[in-house]
């Protein structure tokens, strides 16, 4: 047995490579980033090329993957949960067109919001789109399931949603790989009746999708991801995805013997769930994420024999663990050591020497001269500017929202209206908002913090920076005299303050690009240069 130690995210990547993908399409986002990174680092060992550079955003990624599938090849598309909001239009409609080559969308949810703004549950999207959803519980299952999901996708001609959560994505375990499969040949599908979603085609395709649902249920009933761990007693447990691990941990540690049904493929396997409900008086439903199926099983008028997140047996929010599951199963809490009072929080911070620090210092100086000083910001390292000592930004909602929210506030009459956005976030979803602002001549000042990378997720290449960012802004219509570049360094502080003051005073759209490479990326490049002279 030859096991390699892989993160859950990496197990998906290896599974996809071994399933014969011809491409991966993704935008970085914790906890999904490592899937694509693994493919980027390991594709060279493959007999056939695998395309893997980063996409501008999740929507472009999804559509490109759909195009690769249309051409007959297998494609993986990966994103974090909120990325699926961006790609939702393409995702939902690809269930209507169906696919040709296998198409698997791996979505990593972040319950407990370790690195996210919400803990939305992607299984809801899978149900919404009416496609099969698979939710493996271990790193080995992630590898095996990813491979199988491509076969499933091709046999059903539907995209398959693979859902995982932070804990599994970022946990290592030994994984055994199987022999790799060859890539599909180019085999483009001429099927306008499927892919031209004009109403007459869309109606037929939608009915086709509805007609497949019974078959999907039967597949779930036969899936190895759904299985019973037999037991005795009147309380049964229905454990979804990674929740199975916590339930098993408690069951073994405390010598319990309740019957347990593990769910890893959706739609739900109706028959087996009926069996469990008939053989038990009460059921504990353990889901990682929203109580999606607990709510369904409980019904609108409630069922007092079902316990879970909705009746407080398990916490309503946040990630599960074996402790919360133990309590739900009636195990008394042990006496524990406590965290001493002197232990204060240690929040993350901008790195020492980071250019964002100098950018915020200049911006704060300028903004504090106004009575109203609102700064609309975005998602990236610079979001840390919200924390002390800077307290420099006042919004962070979704990718690209800084520019558009500043525009709306400016339209309402707020002055100054300032947006701070990174280079990668700007190319992800900021450019269209800037176009809106230009078309409306809104009085906004947009600071693009160009550090030449997608830094927060670990330094992936961004889609445009430096001179290309300038060219994009020019192309969108930013006037040359209001398109400025500053170098966020201590030695440039006075000059930077002056530029920001001038542009904030201008009653129109101005863009200030604060250009300095991320110190982490710069250090890494230096190390690589030393290693390979």
């Amino acid at each position: 047995m030859n096991k390699q130690l892989l993160l859950g995210a990496e197990a998906i990547a290896l599974g996809a490579l071994d399933a014969g993908i011809s491409g991966v399409y993704a935008y970085p986002g914790t906890p999904s980033t490592e899937i694509t990174e693994y493919i980027q680092k390991n594709k060279a060992r493959r007999a056939q090329p695998v395309r893997s550079t980063w996409a501008a955003n999740e929507k472009t990624a999804y559509e490109a993957a759909l195009g690769m599938s249309y051409a007959g090849k297998r494609a993986l598309v990966c994103m974090k949960h909120v990325g699926l909001n961006v790609a939702a239009d393409a995702f939902i409609n690809s269930a209507i067109t169906g696919v040709n080559g296998g198409l698997v969308v791996a979505v990593a949810d972040d319950p407990s919001m370790h690195s996210s703004q919400n803990e939305q549950d992607s299984r809801v999207y899978g149900k919404f789109a009416m496609v099969p959803v698979v939710e493996p519980a271990s790193q080995q299952e992630l590898y095996d399931t990813t491979r199988d999901a491509f076969d499933l996708s091709e046999s059903l001609q539907l995209p398959v949603l693979l859902r995982l959560t932070t804990r599994l994505a970022h946990s290592r375990a030994g994984v055994e790989a199987k022999a790799p499969r060859e890539q599909n040949p180019l085999n483009a599908l001429y099927a306008p009746e499927r892919f031209v979603l004009m109403p007459h085609n869309a109606r037929r395709q939608y009915n086709h999708l509805l007609g497949m649902q019974d078959r999907l249920e039967v597949l779930s009933e036969h899936s190895p991801l759904n299985r019973l761990i037999p037991g005795t007693g009147t309380t049964g447990v229905l454990a979804f995805g990674i929740a199975f691990n916590y339930v098993m941990e408690v069951r073994e540690a405390h010598g319990l013997s309740f019957p347990l049904f593990k769910i890893g493929q959706y739609p739900l396997p109706r028959k087996q769930i009926e069996d469990l409900f008939q053989s038990c008086e009460t059921i504990l439903v353990a889901e990682e994420g929203y109580p999606v199926y607990e709510e369904l099983l409980r019904g609108y008028f409630g069922n007092k024999n079902i316990h879970g997140r909705l009746d407080g047996a398990l916490p309503r929010a946040g990630e599960l663990n074996s402790d919360s599951v133990a309590r739900a199963l009636g195990i008394e809490k042990k006496e524990l050591l406590t965290v001493p009072e002197i232990v204060v929080n240690r929040p993350p911070e901008l790195c020492k020497g980071c250019g964002h620090r100098d950018m915020f210092e200049a911006l704060n100086t300028v903004m504090h001269s106004f009575s109203e000083h609102h700064v609309f910001s975005d998602i990236g390292c610079y979001t840390l500017g919200a924390l002390p000592p800077f307290n420099a930004i006042h919004t962070c909602v979704d990718m690209g929202a800084s520019i558009t929210m500043a525009k709306g506030a400016a339209d309402a009459g707020l002055r100054p209206a300032v947006a701070v956005i990174g280079d990668s976030t700007f190319t992800h979803s900021g450019m269209t908002g800037l176009l809106d602002a230009l078309n409306d001549r809104s009085a906004v000042t947009v600071i693009i913090a160009d550090n030449d990378t997608t830094a927060m997720t670990g330094g992936q290449n961004s889609s445009a920076n430096g001179s290309r960012l300038l060219a994009i802004c020019r192309g969108l219509g930013v006037e040359e005299q209001h398109l400025r570049t500053i170098i966020p360094l201590k030695s440039h502080l006075e000059e930077n303050i002056a530029v920001l003051r001038e542009e904030i005073a201008w009653e129109g759209v101005s863009v200030v690009i604060a250009e300095r490479e991320c110190i982490e990326t710069a250090a890494r490049k230096k190390r690589q240069k030393v290693a390979k002279p």
Partner: protein, 196 residues
């Protein structure tokens, strides 16, 4: 056997290098491993931890249950205290003593030491100093691994051979320096065991 280890530190201090060495050694010994890491926002100077579980049978949960960690291995003294509810009554704390101060309200060192001494035979390691003696302050993580080695359930030779494997690409000198650091930590640990 089963060992539950919580690795603690501040983002950027490199606790995952310690985890990588233990992982390699455990894998070579044919043991099962689960190692949950923190990626993303906290890596920027925030509190980070890794749950590392090693066993000779199947492990289900990636996370360690409360009150069941055999070892808290921390590369920063305050961070060692953050995870005390995970420590089992017999569990041990092994921590570096050099504080990493990046917030205003960092408590006084005497208070931290007092709290550490409330745990079961804590091992406080002047890791930076020992690392310098080994050749470079950058080997302090290997000093810490050496100090914690007796509590991992893995033979020190296996850990040393994993150090060789992990740092091998950087050359013999780097490997030798890291092994020297490991041994300094291990010696300190043995000294404490003999004294108590």
């Amino acid at each position: 056997m089963q060992t539950n280890i919580i690795l603690a530190g501040v983002g950027g201090q490199g606790i995952l290098t310690i985890a990588a060495v233990i992982d390699l050694a455990a894998l070579k010994c044919g043991l099962t491993i689960r190692q949950a890491e923190v990626h993303g926002m906290s890596q920027r100077g925030g509190a980070v931890q890794s749950h590392l579980r090693i066993s000779d049978h199947e492990i289900f949960s990636d996370l360690i249950a409360e009150g069941s960690a055999d070892l808290i291995l921390s590369v920063e003294p305050l961070e060692a205290l953050r995870y005390l509810p995970f420590l089992s009554p017999e569990g041990r704390v092994v921590t570096a003593t050099e504080p990493f101060i990046n917030m205003e309200s960092y408590p006084a060192m005497e208070e931290i030491t007092r709290e550490l001494h409330r745990t079961n035979q804590p091992l406080l390691v002047n890791a930076t100093e020992l690392a310098r003696e080994a050749g470079s302050a950058r080997t302090s993580n290997m000093v810490m691994l050496g100090a914690a080695a007796p509590f991992t359930g893995i033979a020190p030779e296996e850990l040393e051979s994993a150090i060789g494997q992990l740092f091998g690409a950087k050359g013999e000198e780097i490997v030798a320096m890291n092994i020297r650091a490991f041994r300094k930590g291990e010696a300190l640990s043995q000294l404490q065991a003999t004294a108590s």
